[in-house]
């Protein structure tokens, strides 16, 4: 992990972002013991009334979800024509939103799986709701390919189901790969999320006072009792799932990028897409996590668990991936020029200077320039500034997909059939609505489910070490799940 900025440990007890390699900064602050962790987290799911902010946010989100429903109803009853699409621009907001949301959906599994494999114990503070975010984002993502087809009532034909027509899907189509990739990703993320939650559900069960809560949490906890013989299998499966999810994360967005890379549209047909899309996904995924984490830790007083260090690490990752993206933008142009394909060459020149140049420059500003601010430790460690930058990043990443899809399609091979695209109000409302759906689900999650993985956090408490003895300080702050290496 790159070490940038001042190394002087700050006096502030809440600042654990010191990079002094000789000292191990704690990942949980405040006078934390097991009970206090449990108390802090479980209490959120148990309290009678959540803060007013929650109610306002939930109301708004629910309204937007309603809007989404209305738009979809209108779409189904009238036809895809209610969108601004045409020939040549056969895809726009529908697939843009799909790729956007799938991208968002990557940080969760990445944080829980990849960071887990790399023994990044700081993940424990954020992995739970990063995973939740993944699932909700994938739900939003899956929505769009489903509703974008012309005859939505026949969408089930994309699944290889036996039928009286004796015909099968065409497995050469990247869209079909999408079907498998996204559904697999959703399933695995869901299992991963739920499994990680079982011990915490058990906690809620055991703390529950009302019969109903006992029963409900009891059912979902499936009788978990913290038996070590269980923990053994549990940890092994968790490790395996992490090991499976890691390549899965990479594969899913690669497959999504195949939708474009496999086609022959100039500006789409690019070998660089898979890595470039994955980097982009991680980039905006982390941005979205931070977007959610900063307000959450403040409203629910989780500063002790989601510490500045967590935020700073995420900002560092965004800085890194942001630069990968920037590199990709540059190399695309280089290859377009170097490759000597006139159509591809024009496609890229047209992006930067054509009718949609504005969208291209929004993209560059938000994705390449804005993250550069993260070079400064001050900015990295001031939550709300970082939050603002993350807003930029998400906007930029949405426009990246807009640029890729719309500019490429609007001007492909035959100038005679060049076209232009302008979204209708329906598309704008649908996009808005998808955010509504996302936040609705997320708000329900923070209301009823422990949003921090208690068991895992406890495991990284200093006192969690079975061999704890005063004369081995190096192993402080490490647990079975975490052996942090500098």
């Amino acid at each position: 992990m790159s070490v940038v900025g001042t190394t002087a440990p700050s006096a502030d007890p809440w600042d654990n972002t010191s990079d002094d390699p000789t000292r191990r900064a704690p990942l949980v602050l405040g006078a934390a013991d097991y009970a206090s962790v449990t108390e802090k987290v479980a209490e959120l799911a148990e309290r009678r009334r959540p803060p007013r902010a929650w109610y306002i946010a939930f109301g708004v989100s629910l309204a937007l979800t309603g809007l989404l429903g209305a738009m979809i109803l209108y779409l189904f009853t009238t036809g895809v024509g209610v969108w601004g699409l045409n020939s040549p621009v056969g895809w726009a907001f529908d697939i843009i939103n799909f790729v956007f949301w799938v991208g968002i959906g990557h940080a969760g599994t990445l944080i829980s799986a990849i960071l887990f494999l790399f023994r990044q114990s700081w993940r424990t503070g954020i992995n739970r709701f990063a995973e939740a975010m993944t699932i909700f984002a994938v739900i939003c993502a899956g929505l769009f390919p489903a509703i974008h087809v012309g005859r939505v009532w026949l969408i089930y034909w994309v699944f290889p189901l036996p039928n009286q027509m004796q015909v099968w899907p065409n497995f050469r189509s990247p869209l079909l790969w999408d079907v498998f990739a996204v559904s697999t990703y959703f399933t695995v993320s869901l299992l991963f999320w739920y499994m990680g939650m079982i011990p915490d559900l058990a906690t809620l069960r055991d703390r529950a006072t009302s019969r109903v809560r006992q029963r409900v949490y009891g059912l979902f906890a499936m009788g978990w009792r913290g038996s070590n013989r269980h923990w053994q299998n549990y940890e092994r499966v968790y490790l395996i799932l992490a090991a499976l999810a890691t390549p899965l994360v990479l594969s899913v967005h690669s497959v999504v990028s195949f939708d474009f890379a496999v086609s022959m549209v100039p500006g789409w047909h690019t070998t660089i897409f898979p890595p470039y899309f994955v980097a982009g996904a991680i980039f905006c995924g982390f941005a979205m996590v931070l977007l959610l984490a900063v307000p959450a830790r403040q409203w629910f007083g989780l500063e002790a668990l989601i510490t500045l260090r967590h935020l700073e690490n995420m900002n560092k990752i965004m800085l890194a991936t942001g630069m990968i993206i920037g590199y990709a933008y540059f190399i695309e142009f280089f290859i377009a020029w170097y490759g000597g394909n006139v159509y591809e060459h024009f496609a890229f020149v047209n992006r930067a200077l054509g009718p949609y140049a504005w969208s291209y420059w929004i993209m560059v500003t938000c994705n390449v320039i804005a993250p550069q601010l993260f070079w400064s430790k001050r900015i990295r460690t001031s939550p709300w500034v970082a939050w603002g930058i993350c807003v930029f990043i998400n906007v930029g990443m949405w426009f990246e997909r807009f640029v890729i899809i719309v500019t490429s399609l609007s001007r492909d091979y035959l100038p005679g059939s060049w076209g232009a695209y302008k979204p209708t109000w329906v598309e704008l409302c649908t996009l808005l609505g998808s955010f509504g759906l996302f936040f609705t689900l997320f708000l329900l999650f923070v209301r009823f489910v422990p949003m921090v993985a208690m068991a895992e956090v406890k495991a990284v408490l200093p006192q969690a070490d079975a061999h704890a003895s005063p004369n081995e300080p190096e192993r402080r702050a490490t647990g079975t799940l975490a052996v942090e290496k500098a």
Binding site: P162, Q164, M165, Q166, R215
Partner: protein, 221 residues
């Protein structure tokens, strides 16, 4: 000694004995749903047996069966065109001016004949509008009427006997041999293959140069 307070159980012990039942149901329901969808949804279930009432109680049993009138006497165009045309009233009256001229069942026919207004029959073998079936192409390759329409000569009211689904068509297009017969037996309802049908079919396929196509363009335009 300190107290060992007892804690009320959330779930009684017997709950766990339900596990096999729950697992069983959980695993069977989706399978059952799929099976239901597949069979319940297939034309074999939904279409076969479609038997609408016709304006005239015309009996194929009598005409094609007992009287042994050849299909082509009425369905004249079947060998040359896509459609096996339902005959004009004229055709009925060719005989029925003499036979049963007064029969009350024939009132609609006589009316049609006198007024010139057609009899409105109800189509039984009704393919979707995007399917283009050509009778001549099949009849002139030795595919008998019976293959699709079944024993019409035994039907008082015509009923759909085959699913006429895409899969059903493909079955025959993929293996035509057991459905072929000599051209002059095409309209024969009671024809019995001399010897092994498949083997005869193979020879006929050679002879008529039959190579059934599975191309989409064969039936869909």
């Amino acid at each position: 000694m300190q107290d060992h307070g007892k804690r009320p159980l959330i779930f009684p012990k017997w709950v766990d004995s339900l596990r096999p039942v729950v697992f069983g149901v959980a695993s069977i329901v989706p399978v059952y749903a799929l099976v239901l969808l597949y069979y319940g949804g297939s034309p074999r279930t939904t279409d076969v047996g479609y038997m609408p009432a016709q304006p005239v109680p015309y009996s194929h049993t009598v005409h094609a069966g007992d009287l042994g009138i050849d299909c082509r006497y009425c369905h004249t165009t079947v060998e040359d065109t896509a459609h096996a045309a339902v005959p004009p009233t004229q055709t009925c009256m060719n005989c029925h001016t003499g036979i049963h001229p007064e029969s009350p069942q024939l009132v609609p026919v006589r009316e049609s004949f006198s007024t010139g207004l057609p009899v409105r029959w109800v189509r039984v073998h009704d393919l979707p509008d995007y399917v283009y079936f050509d009778h001549s192409a099949h009849v002139s390759r030795g595919v008998g009427c019976v293959e699709c329409h079944d024993r019409v000569d035994k039907m008082d009211t015509v009923v759909q006997a085959q699913p006429l689904s895409m899969g059903w068509c493909l079955d025959c297009h993929r293996n035509p041999d057991p459905h072929l017969r000599p051209l002059d037996e095409v309209t024969n309802m009671v024809w019995e293959p001399p010897g092994d049908r498949a083997e005869l079919g193979a020879r006929l396929r050679e002879r008529y140069g039959i190579a059934p196509s599975e191309d989409c363009s064969t039936c869909h335009r």
